[in-house]
């Protein structure tokens, strides 16, 4: 009897944790999209006002953030600082690839960032500003969508995990 009880509670606990893990993706994505937008706006002001070179600008931005966004900017700055002849676009793309495991973005979000990277450091100031604005507005659109998805999925995954655990225990009992 006691073994059954322990096993049942283990199953319920693990399925609840799985549910929370699955909902985490939807919870964190809007926040990350928002901080990415802020980061791009900071990059804009770095380009307009401070006139910093890209590695320094990236470093300045990286210290203001946490998690995946920090890792992307940090990685790009490091790659550029190594001076291996990498273009800004290559460093940006590779840095995004490296920090994919720390982010909760979807393919569409990565695509926006990659497109933004295409003109990074390869055109004049006005063009880059325009490009930052474009990327920001696209990210804002994705953020709205992500927020909707979060509303739809967060609660569902959390309660689904718990209920599925209870159901499994009941069937096995």
């Amino acid at each position: 009897m006691i073994i059954k009880l322990i096993g049942g509670s283990l199953i319920i606990a693990s399925s609840t944790v799985i549910g929370y893990k699955l909902s985490e993706k939807y919870v964190k994505r809007p926040g990350e999209l928002r901080s990415m937008q802020t980061a791009l706006q900071m990059l804009e002001s770095e380009i307009i006002f401070s006139l910093n070179p890209l590695p320094d600008a990236f470093n300045n931005i990286a210290v203001c953030f946490e998690g995946g966004v920090k890792k992307i900017f940090m990685g790009a700055a490091e790659l550029l600082n190594k001076r291996t002849g990498m273009t800004a676009q290559e460093a940006w793309t590779q840095s995004i690839q490296n920090s994919k495991s720390d982010m909760h973005f979807e393919e569409a979000d990565y695509k926006i960032l990659m497109e933004f990277g295409n003109s990074l450091g390869s055109s004049d100031r006005e063009n880059q500003i325009k490009n930052i604005h474009l990327a920001c507005s696209k990210l804002a659109m994705e953020e709205k969508k992500a927020e909707k998805q979060r509303e739809k999925n967060e609660k569902m995954y959390k309660s689904l995990g718990l209920l599925a655990g209870v159901l499994i225990v009941l069937v096995l009992l």
Binding site: K152, K155, S159, L163, L167
Partner: protein
């Protein structure tokens, strides 16, 4: 065959209906229907032994 079986089926029924409501509210009607169907099948599998038992009893009763 005992009272536990009835309680178990009742609990599964309640849980499946809650799951159904949850999935419908988050706009996943297809999955909701699938869960209901899965619940039904599970309960049928649990009951089928008893049903065959009943048939056997009836058979022996009328010496078929």
């Amino acid at each position: 065959m005992g009272v536990e079986l009835i309680f178990q089926i009742a609990a599964i029924g309640i849980l499946v209906s809650v799951l159904n409501q949850l999935l419908i509210r988050s706009g996943r009607e297809e999955q909701a229907m699938m869960t209901t169907l899965a619940g039904l099948i599970v309960v049928l599998l649990m009951v089928i032994k008893e049903v065959s038992n009943l048939f056997d009893t009836v058979k022996t009763m009328f010496k078929l």
